[in-house]
């Protein structure tokens, strides 16, 4: 591959500076070019490689030696494959080989494994690496060259999950299961790729934090904003949190994602405009039950996010779900979080399994009423309307009896807003006021919504 013309454009490097190989961007562009003009029937296959013990090497021997090892592996791959393939370094310890002719992939994989796993003598040390390979070929399952990189990475991550050294991209599942599987793999790939340099996820805008205002309908000020994560899949578009959060939990990346959201949101919250009395809107952040599995990590993540951002602890609400099984250790973390000055809100209040006895002992400040309670209020069915109304009043008075402040979610109509106000609810959230908004838009919303302190009450 002639890399000279690639170097000329330097805004997004097409060449990896350390190894001189094509970068991920370079490879992606090359694949896109091939997609635009690829003769049908022409073979194309791609191997995605990961040096799997590399993190350990980097940690124990230092990044400088790590870089020398990467450069050496690049030279080995170039020597072996440059005549037959495009060799790219796609990320950190990840390389790719793109073959444009018919090759026996099994043979090529064996070659890769043989030579990258041969000992390396550098800086007086002997290092033996281990490599994992994901393979994909153009064909029934991967129809365009651009899809190859993704397919090979999916195969690589499946190999990793299965604890094996090599895996071919395959579809041995029904289309629905396959989609779910792919989504999970995509998430794994996205997060994995970004694990070491999460800032890439932000620059790529693949993960974005949106903010939905929670308004005080009595003072007509924005009380707080709830941070909600969105995943903009490069090809599938917007994936709702309910689809990918359980996956993130399952594949044990929720802690990474959770800490990133918390930190991002705290930094963003510091930029929000204060109301006329000089009070900044609060910030509400969801904490996954998974994050409670490591209470120490959660606690230090919160502390770090607060100190990095300078956000006043009292402005931070951590939303837990009722499904969090409330064991004594978890109470302990909640107590410690409150001792920091943070507030605890229980999400989806009334939909879970908490007993009243439990509710009375959990250290809480807020409860959020699930929108299922109010969805029929003001609806076409008067019986449902009445039932919803009664339930809502019951839950609101329960919260009040427990000395908790209620936030009602899912307010979509003025009727709902007015009825809830009659029942004594002040804090509300829903599409009637605003949907989840990007940071810039939430700024604008707050400025527009907040009434001067001395102003008439008007909702």
């Amino acid at each position: 591959m002639n890399i000279e013309p690639l170097i000329a454009h330097s805004e997004a490097p097409r060449v990896d500076a350390l190894t001189g190989l094509a970068s991920r961007v370079g490879l992606e562009e090359h694949l896109a070019d091939l997609s635009a003009a690829h003769p049908p029937g022409q073979p194309l296959s791609l191997l995605a490689l990961e040096l799997s013990r590399f993190g350990h090497v980097n940690d124990s021997m230092g990044a400088e030696l790590g870089n020398r090892i990467i450069a050496l592996v690049a030279r080995r791959l170039t020597k072996l494959f440059a005549h037959a393939a495009i060799v790219a370094r796609t990320h950190g310890n990840h390389f790719c080989l793109l073959f444009k002719d018919t090759v026996d992939l099994h043979e090529q994989i064996a070659l890769v494994q043989d030579f990258t796993q041969r000992p390396i003598a550098l800086s007086g040390e002997v290092i033996v690496l281990s490599v994992r390979v994901g393979a994909a070929e153009l064909g029934d399952m991967v129809e365009t060259p651009s899809g190859l990189l993704h397919a090979a990475e999916v195969a690589l991550h499946r190999a990793k999950r299965e604890g094996i050294k090599r895996q071919f991209f395959q579809s041995d599942q029904t289309s629905e299961a396959r989609l779910a599987q792919q989504l999970e793999n995509d998430l794994r790939v996205s997060l994995f790729t970004h694990h070491a340099e999460l800032h890439r996820a932000i620059t790529n805008r693949e993960f974005q934090v949106l903010y939905q205002p929670i308004v005080d309908t009595q003072t007509h000020q924005v009380h707080a904003v709830e941070a909600l994560i969105r995943w903009h899949h490069p090809r599938r578009g917007l994936i709702p949190p309910m689809d990918f959060i359980p996956m993130a939990e399952q594949i044990q990346v929720m802690d990474v994602l959770g800490s990133w959201v918390l930190r991002r949101a705290c930094l963003d919250a510091m930029t929000l405009p204060c109301d006329a009395t000089g009070v900044r809107p609060g910030l509400s952040v969801n904490v996954s039950p998974i994050q409670f599995a490591e209470p120490g990590v959660l606690l230090s993540t919160v502390k770090q996010a607060l100190s990095d951002s300078g956000l006043e602890p009292a402005l931070l609400k951590l939303e837990i779900t009722e499904s969090l099984s409330l064991s004594a250790t978890k109470f302990g973390v909640l107590d410690e979080l409150r001792a920091l000055g943070c507030q605890i809100a229980m999400d989806d209040f009334g939909t879970g399994y908490s007993s009243l006895t439990q509710l009375n002992v959990v250290p809480l400040d807020y409860v959020k009423l699930d929108q299922s309670f109010i969805s029929h209020i003001g609806g076409p069915d008067p019986v449902e309307d009445q039932r919803s109304d009664r339930m809502t009043r019951l839950v609101l008075s329960l919260a009040k009896a427990l000395d908790l402040t209620s936030i009602v979610e899912g307010i979509e109509t003025e009727v709902q807003r007015d009825r809830l106000r009659q029942h004594g609810a002040r804090l509300m959230q829903g599409y009637l006021f605003a949907r989840p908004l990007p940071l810039e838009d939430v700024h604008e919303f707050i400025t527009r919504f907040n009434q001067p302190a001395q102003g008439e009450e008007h909702v």
């Binding site: 080995r76 000992p119 003598a121 800086s123 007086g124 002997v126």
Partner: protein, 150 residues
């Protein structure tokens, strides 16, 4: 020389062919080494036995690392196991760019066993043992050659 080191490894022969093909390959390996090693300041010895190469190379660290890397990229062998890579006070094969210690000499230690071993101490010990075996073999051959000459 303060950064003088010794590296010992064993590897599996992947040359397919007759015994003569293997001997031919060995002659080529020695010829290349005799050509390149003096320039690099590298000395050493090579033994071929029972389908395995056993080699000791010694010299300045950087030259040794570069040479070892080029040896690694040789397709004539595989399954390389490094026995030791350590500083030495003096060379064991100072007169040899690459001495051929033998082609058929029966090994006095268990190569397969070594390859399975994960114990660093066992490997090191085997490496030192290999060096002394090679040294002995080289001296024997030298004695035989001198005897023939005189």
């Amino acid at each position: 020389m303060s950064d003088l080191r010794s590296l010992a490894y064993i590897s599996k022969n992947t040359i397919r062919g007759t015994e003569e093909d293997v001997r031919e390959a060995l002659r080529a390996i020695i010829a290349t080494a005799e050509h390149n090693n003096p320039r690099l300041g590298v000395t050493g010895a090579l033994l071929y036995s029972g389908g395995y190469f056993c080699q000791v190379i010694e010299g300045p660290q950087e030259a040794l690392e570069a040479l070892f890397e080029s040896i690694q990229m040789d397709r004539r062998h595989g399954d390389v196991t490094v026995l030791h890579f350590e500083p030495i006070a003096e060379r064991d094969f100072r007169e040899w760019a690459m001495a051929l210690a033998g082609v058929e000499a029966s090994m006095r230690f268990d190569i397969e066993g070594l390859r399975q071993s994960k114990d660093e101490l066992v490997m090191k010990e085997a490496g030192h043992h290999l060096v002394s075996v090679l040294e002995e073999l080289v001296q024997q051959r030298q004695a035989v050659l001198q005897h023939v000459r005189t």
